[in-house]
């Protein structure tokens, strides 16, 4: 009884909200709304500003810009087919490698394979990878990855050269070193987000699977992974987005040569590298073309993200999992 009196006496617990409460509530709501809309506004402003500067180039080069592979500032001939190809090829390769290892690592670190302390230690190490600046990755690629890959690549070229993937020798920078470094760069993102997704799977689900008599691997592959698939897919899309836009490390490793080839060992080029390397000293006409290229990169990234989200919804629906 005494306690009840205490409660009813303090109007913090019950009682009508004061004017200040209303005011705080309303302003907080306005601020959150503003922030949400601001993000949309920033995206639109970005698209609009870059698009506006690209308009002269779009008018001059039309869609031929997307299907030509020549970039010659002296003759005012610009085309980015090779860059689009290189961007997608290197990012997809990086995603396949980085995605595989990232998801495997997430399973390893969340499914009680390791004592908790050791798992926490590994987690920190993987997350540390995300803190390394991309120039350092680039240098590491030049001085470590390329020399290690070179003999392997040239052996593959000698013995299996008839396969288009191995049709050239690796002299130095090239697609494979860039893709490998990209894979390592996107690994922390994929591993961290996938871990969260796996940890969100209710313990009961796992217990139920064990209860039905599954082995550990069956439980992981048939129950846990599908249940967490939406989150893992999100991790992959995030990682792919990062790979598409990565600039410095790729510019140092890919060879920046306008080649369109399936060979993993040939130099190639990416949109981000093209932009970073040509902007500082570009003339007026070239800047317009670069803006056009930037717009294309932006659209590719948006498209990939939208496709990813759509696919995510579809797969999770097919698997009967509710997405948030």
């Amino acid at each position: 009884m005494k306690r009840f009196e205490q409660f009813s006496a303090s109007d913090a617990i019950s009682g009508p909200p004061s004017k200040a409460d209303y005011w705080v509530d309303r302003s907080f709501r306005t601020v959150t709304h503003l922030c949400a809309w601001l993000i949309l506004a920033i995206v639109i402003a970005l698209l609009w500003q870059i698009g506006e500067k690209a308009i002269p180039a779009i008018r001059d080069y039309h869609l031929g810009f997307l299907t030509s592979a020549v970039w010659d500032a002296n003759k005012d001939q610009f085309g980015i087919l090779a860059e689009i190809w290189g961007t997608l090829y290197s990012s997809i390769l990086g995603l396949i490698i980085g995605g595989f290892f990232g998801v495997v690592m997430a399973i390893f670190l969340t499914q009680d394979f390791l004592p908790p302390l050791l798992a926490a230690f590994f987690r920190t190490i993987v997350e540390l990878l995300a803190a390394i600046p991309s120039v350092v990755y680039g240098l590491w690629g030049i001085f470590v990855v390329v020399p290690v890959l070179r003999p392997v690549a040239n052996w593959l070229n000698e013995t299996l050269g008839w396969i288009p993937l191995f049709s050239t020798t690796l002299s130095g920078p090239g697609l494979l070193p860039a893709a490998l470094v990209l894979a390592i760069m996107i690994l922390p993102t994929i591993a961290a987000v996938s871990q969260d997704a796996l940890r969100l799977v209710p313990y009961r689900t796992k217990e139920a699977a064990y209860g039905l008599g599954t082995t550990r691997w069956e439980a992981i592959l048939r129950v846990l992974l599908p249940t967490a698939s939406a989150g893992i897919f999100g991790a992959l899309v995030l990682g792919f987005g990062r790979a598409l836009g990565e600039t410095m490390a790729v510019a140092m490793l890919i060879g920046n040569s306008n080649q369109i080839t399936l060979s993993l060992f040939s130099p190639a080029n990416t949109l981000a590298a093209l932009l970073a390397l040509n902007f500082p000293e570009a003339g007026k006409v070239e800047v317009r073309a670069l803006m056009y290229a930037a717009l294309v990169l932006l659209l590719i990234t948006l498209l990939v993200n939208m496709l990813g989200t759509a696919l995510m919804h579809r797969t999770s629906k097919a698997l009967g999992v509710k997405t948030r």
């Binding site: 002296n74 120039v135 130095g172 130099p267 500082p280």
Partner: protein, 344 residues
């Protein structure tokens, strides 16, 4: 991700120190410059030494690249600029009051290579090295290369050509030289800050002088064009090139001095040496320029600029050889000194 160049770090330090100096000396003159990265190691040494002896002067130079330097200069956001490609008349016309262009130093562009066994003194004949950069000679043991180098057993290795990925004054000078000695190059890629190199999986591009140096160092069978100072820094082997007189000349101060001695400086002080005469001339030698306003609108600033130029022409030239640049011949120094009076 934005890469912070040593120049920018240098600029940050400069700013930090200038803040300290401001509080000490009331009448500090602050000069801001930007432009070519090719002479940056030398310029930064000059300005550091000058500021050491002249406590009330701070000079802040940012190696943004020649094109960016010219842009800054036209927009009047700097007090002076530097450019490997001098300045075009139409660009000068956009600066009210006029521009004084001064050749401050000269450098060489070298062909650095990386071959197994580290053979020194590779000789490249005049008709051969343009073909390498045209993608026509693709193997190190090509008969044309082997016959010019009987003392070296050249390997059966593909030639990996390393070029600049970014637009640069170095590329401009190098491709201008190749265009001057090879009609095929002139009609193919041509000369420019960036050119359309042959499409080949053996042509790779790296950003900046140091990027090309690192790639050549890491790639067996590579050859690339870089500024002499950077090749020295990376301890790369450099090829001797055959000059117009038919002699093979190794890169270094001697060949550069000979080239400059054979060069006549015109009235506007802009001389291009794309194919020098002379037995001892190193073929790819180039001046690099600083750009000044003829009317600064600030007598104190103009006086300081003239003093800095005088310092660079006297004390500064003594530092050049050690850093891989070529000291200016006396006639060029005199011409500069006379022209520097136009900076008002």
């Amino acid at each position: 991700m934005k890469r912070i160049s040593p120049a920018q770090i240098g600029a940050i330090f400069f700013l930090a120190f200038s803040g300290i100096n401001l509080s000490l000396a009331a009448e500090t003159v602050r000069l801001i410059g930007s432009g070519a990265s090719f002479p940056f190691p030398l310029y930064s040494a000059w300005f550091k030494n000058y500021s050491r002896t002249h406590k009330n002067v701070n000079i802040d130079y940012q190696a943004k690249g020649s094109g960016a330097g010219i842009q800054d200069f036209i927009n009047r956001t700097v007090d002076f600029a530097a450019s490997d490609a001098a300045m075009k008349p139409e660009e000068m016309a956009r600066v009210p009051g006029g521009v004084q262009v001064l050749p401050m130093t000269a450098g060489e562009i070298v062909l650095a290579y990386n071959l197994p066994g580290n053979p020194k003194e590779l000789k490249l004949p005049r008709e051969v090295y343009p073909e390498i950069f045209l993608g026509k000679i693709t193997k190190w043991n090509d008969p044309k290369l082997q016959s010019a180098n009987p003392q070296i057993k050249l390997p059966d290795l593909p030639i990996a050509v390393v070029r600049r990925a970014d637009s640069s004054g170095t590329t401009f000078v190098f491709t201008s030289h190749l265009s001057a000695i090879s009609p095929a190059f002139k009609n193919g890629p041509g000369a420019g800050m960036t050119v359309n190199w042959p499409s080949s999986d053996k042509f790779v591009a790296a950003p900046k002088n140091d990027g090309v140096a690192a790639t050549v160092k890491q790639t067996p069978g590579a050859i690339g064009y870089i500024e002499y100072a950077y090749a020295i820094g990376a301890k790369l082997n450099m090829a001797s090139l055959q000059n117009k007189a038919g002699q093979f000349v190794p890169p270094g101060p001697e060949g550069g001095i000979a080239t400059l001695a054979n060069t006549q400086l015109p009235e506007d002080l802009i001389a291009w040496i794309f194919d020098p005469e002379g037995e001892k001339s190193y073929p790819i030698t180039t001046f690099t320029w600083m750009l000044f306003y003829k009317q600064n609108g600030d007598p104190k600033k103009a006086e300081t600029l003239r003093d800095v130029v005088e310092y660079c022409l006297t004390e500064g030239q003594k530092m050049s050889p050690k850093l891989g640049y070529i000291p200016l011949p006396q006639n060029v120094v005199e011409a500069n000194r006379a022209a520097a009076k136009n900076i008002q």
